[in-house]
């Protein structure tokens, strides 16, 4: 707890009124935060709140447009990563930056190998490495190849590497997003241990449960601004969510219970090419919103891609409205009444260089065509303008190039493309990733409304709040396996995480 270290009067790190602008977006607007000696400070916020930009500035990857940074009360300028490292700040990325083909010691000392006339002193790297591995509780010989380690162990190597350069501030970006529950626990105890060794940690996470468990203090960002701060005693799940979204949770997630209708989509023993040993079986009903939860790499996106005909299944059957359908391509899926809002909006969802109108009509162009394959331009204009109005897309007009819209409005264009076809099953893969809070709320309202009008909605999300906020049911996956299903009453963060990390296996309904 910060208050338990009164000996240090000056904060270790102080960020004052930092702003950063990107073309078209204000990423940070006069953001401030303070990190005390020996504390774990959690920085939380929705996607696009500015957390990553702030962390990149602290790690010297980006430079701020205005504002000051103070380290131990002295002004510091971090214009590159080396500056940050020299100031004792190390960033541990969400995607680890280790070389699989080198051993642990070589990774720890990469670029700083102790050498004599260019010849690496291996014995010394091994001896030194052992010291740091001990501090992170990794009981492995430093000669082990990094490629043979689990993700959790690789993370420990990253931390050891940071310690080896004498980092006093560790920034961890979503460190548990691909860890099992056991590995997460191990990470937490290492973080607590580091604190006793005088290291402070800035911890970024989506998982409010672990923030609650670990953090001494919480700083909340929303849409690039400070949204509030919580001291250790006032940290609570509800308070954090409220600060993150700017209002009461119940208002933010527009959940109205839906009376599930008949089964629209039935998946029987479906085996995806990535996880062919785990057949997946579930049903989706009319008027229903079903979430799919799981860790990064649990096979959720792969499932969506097989359902939409991007990848071919290895076996099993898909029924739509009681009739078995064979999906070999997205065209087949669309014909059967399916639509997919894909995970990567810019790569899979949009033609960035084309206008709003042209993106919006891409899926319905063929249906609306005239003789000789001519485009029905009048219909195209009508559809796009209707969708812009219905979804409240902020664009000067429908000839605007999509690339110049904000993330939220871009996502609405992808949604609009499918709404024009009026599908019976809507598949969404991380529908609110990189979307501002306002647009997020609108997307939730839209999903809720579509479900009450009879659409069946299946959506993948890594955001537990979102899953819990708008789903009628949740399916949880772990390493390619459907590990369980939870009703709205059962879906606590703990219950979902247990299934997502493979701790227990609930009976899967047939």
């Amino acid at each position: 707890m910060s208050s338990s270290h009164p000996t240090h009067s000056r904060p270790l790190l102080e960020v004052r009124q930092i702003s950063k602008q990107f073309p078209g977006v204000k990423a940070l607007s006069r953001v401030s935060l303070t990190l005390h000696h020996v504390e774990v400070l959690a920085v939380i916020g929705e996607n696009g709140a500015g957390k990553s930009t702030l962390m990149k500035i602290l790690a010297g990857v980006q430079t701020p447009d205005s504002g000051t940074l103070l380290i131990n009360g002295e002004e510091a300028s971090l214009s590159n990563v080396a500056d940050a490292l020299n100031s004792g700040i190390a960033l541990i990325h969400q995607e680890l930056n280790l070389s699989d083909n080198l051993d642990i010691a070589a990774n720890i000392f990469l670029g700083r190998e102790p050498n004599h006339w260019g010849i690496i002193n291996r014995r010394q790297t091994y001896l030194e490495s052992e010291k740091f591995l001990k501090r992170v509780g990794l009981n492995l010989p430093p000669q082990t190849l990094v490629g043979n380690l689990t993700v959790g162990q690789q993370q420990m190597v990253e931390i050891a590497k940071a310690l080896s350069i004498n980092a006093r501030i560790l920034i961890m970006d979503e460190p548990t997003s691909s860890l099992s529950l056991h590995e997460s626990e191990a990470l937490f105890s290492v973080i607590r241990e580091l604190k006793t060794q005088g290291v402070s940690v800035i911890y970024i996470s989506h998982r409010l449960g672990e923030v609650n468990e670990l953090a001494d203090r919480v700083v909340v960002l929303r849409d690039g601004e400070n949204a509030g701060e919580l001291d250790h005693d006032s940290i609570s799940h509800d308070r954090m969510v409220q600060l993150m979204v700017g209002r009461n949770v119940s208002q933010f997630f527009p959940y109205t219970p839906h009376e599930p209708g008949e089964v629209v989509l039935e998946v029987k023993n479906l085996r995806t090419p990535d996880n062919p040993t785990h057949p997946i079986t579930f049903t989706l009903r009319k008027n229903e919103i079903v979430g799919i939860s799981g860790l990064v790499g649990a096979g959720r996106t792969e499932l969506m891609q097989v359902l939409f005909g991007i990848d071919a299944p290895r076996g099993g059957a898909i029924f739509v409205n009681g009739k078995e359908i064979h999906i070999h391509s997205p065209q087949d899926a669309i014909k059967a009444g399916l639509a997919l809002v894909p995970e990567d909006r810019k790569l899979q969802g949009l033609i960035l260089e084309m206008a709003v109108r042209e993106n919006m009509s891409l899926a319905s162009l063929s249906r609306d065509r005239r003789h000789l394959g001519m485009i029905n331009f009048a219909q195209e204009r009508k559809t796009s303008n209707e969708m812009i109005a219905a979804m409240n897309i902020k664009t000067p007009n429908d000839r605007q190039i999509v690339q110049f819209l904000s993330g939220g409005n871009q996502q609405k264009v992808v949604l609009g493309k499918w709404m024009a076809l009026n599908p019976s099953v809507l598949l969404l893969d991380e529908p609110t990733r990189g979307v501002d809070v306002g647009a997020k709320e609108e997307i939730y309202h839209l999903m809720n409304e579509l479900a009450s009008r009879g659409m069946a909605i299946l959506f993948v999300s890594s955001d537990l709040e979102e899953i819990r906020g708008i789903s009628d049911r949740v399916l949880v996956m772990h390493e390619g396996q459907l590990t369980g299903e939870l009703s709205r009453e059962e879906m606590s963060e703990e219950a979902i995480m247990q299934l997502a990390t493979g701790q227990i296996r609930a009976p899967v309904p047939s």
Partner: protein, 329 residues
């Protein structure tokens, strides 16, 4: 439109500069000549534009011209009837495009490699079949040769006659522009050229569309091959069509086709082809040593592409600034 304007101005400037120093440039004979050649090159440039817009490339055009241009007189000399010979060479050129398209979409081979092999193969076949003998129509088939060498009187303009290939090119250009701008095929082609993955995720039959682009390209190369053969009447299989794919690609790029795919206009491509021909013509007219021809054409294209890129960057920067003002204000 803005893109076309730039190259149109360049074309006019080159014409005027040449005309000022050599009044023969605007003589009816020279204009007719340049127009005829522009038309022939315009046809193959329109073809490659479809492939470039889809995000691909076709290096085999010159060799397809060689194969078709050698086969037509070869077949006619063997006593095959004119309609049968035309049908056969048309079918061969379409089959070549289909072959390219299938290898590129189904086997996922690189367009560059597939059509580079095509470049070697088709010329080799043509030279093998003809045993490298010069092919021609002699004095026969005057009706057929009218397609390439014929001229039509233009009302109200004394002394100037419109070459028939020009009318053929205009006809093909109108059809091509219709396909590109008014049909779902054209829209799909642009979408695929910009982002094939997103196009596929939108339910577009991407393979079929890409194959179609290669078929159009090879078919128009075949049309070009027929017209070039009829035009010169003495087809040397080892020489005809050499480098023509590069002229076609250069014309398409000058005309506003991005080599990254996704954009381009038929009118721009035709103007690009005209610029290529006028440049060659100007080099002769201005008395520049013909050895420098390639260097000058290359330099002009490079300057055109560089200035286009700079203008684009400037526009993007302005746009970003304006947008920043809008969001903050």
């Amino acid at each position: 439109m803005k893109k076309i304007l730039g190259i149109l101005i360049l074309l006019i400037v080159v014409c005027l500069v040449t005309a000022v120093s050599n009044k023969n440039f605007f003589s009816a004979y020279n204009i007719q000549n340049v127009t005829r050649l522009t038309s022939l090159f315009g046809i193959i440039s329109i073809g490659v534009a479809f492939v470039i817009i889809s995000g691909g490339i076709d290096l085999s055009i010159g060799s397809v011209i060689c194969l078709i241009g050698s086969l037509l007189p070869f077949l006619l000399a063997k006593g095959v009837s004119v309609p049968a010979a035309l049908l056969l060479v048309g079918a061969i050129s379409i089959a070549i495009g289909l072959f390219h398209g299938l290898l590129i979409t189904k086997l996922k081979l690189q367009p560059f490699i597939v059509t580079l092999c095509g470049l070697l193969i088709y010329r080799g076949i043509a030279r093998g079949i003809t045993e490298d003998q010069t092919q021609g129509f002699g004095t026969a088939h005057a009706g057929l040769r009218y397609l390439a060498t014929g001229k039509i009187d233009v009302p109200f303009i004394e002394g100037f006659k419109l070459p028939v290939p020009f009318l053929i090119m205009i006809g093909l250009a109108v059809v091509a522009a219709f396909f590109l701008n008014k049909t779902i095929f054209g829209r799909y082609l642009k979408a695929i050229g910009n982002n094939e993955t997103a196009a596929r995720y939108s339910g577009i039959k991407t393979d079929r569309t890409v194959i179609m682009a290669y078929v159009i390209c090879s078919f128009l190369s075949g049309v070009g091959g027929v017209l070039f053969a009829l035009d010169i009447n003495s087809v040397q299989p080892e020489g005809i069509g050499n480098f023509y794919e590069l002229y076609a690609i250069a014309a398409a790029v000058l005309g506003g086709c991005s080599i990254r795919g996704g954009e381009g206009s038929i009118l721009g491509v035709v103007i690009g082809a005209a610029l290529m021909r006028v440049l060659r013509n100007s080099i002769t007219m201005l008395g520049i040593p013909s050895q420098l021809e390639f260097a000058i054409i290359g330099a002009v294209i490079l300057v055109g592409v560089i200035s286009d890129e700079l203008v684009k960057r400037y526009a993007q920067k302005r746009r970003a600034i304006l947008q920043a003002r809008q969001t903050s204000g």
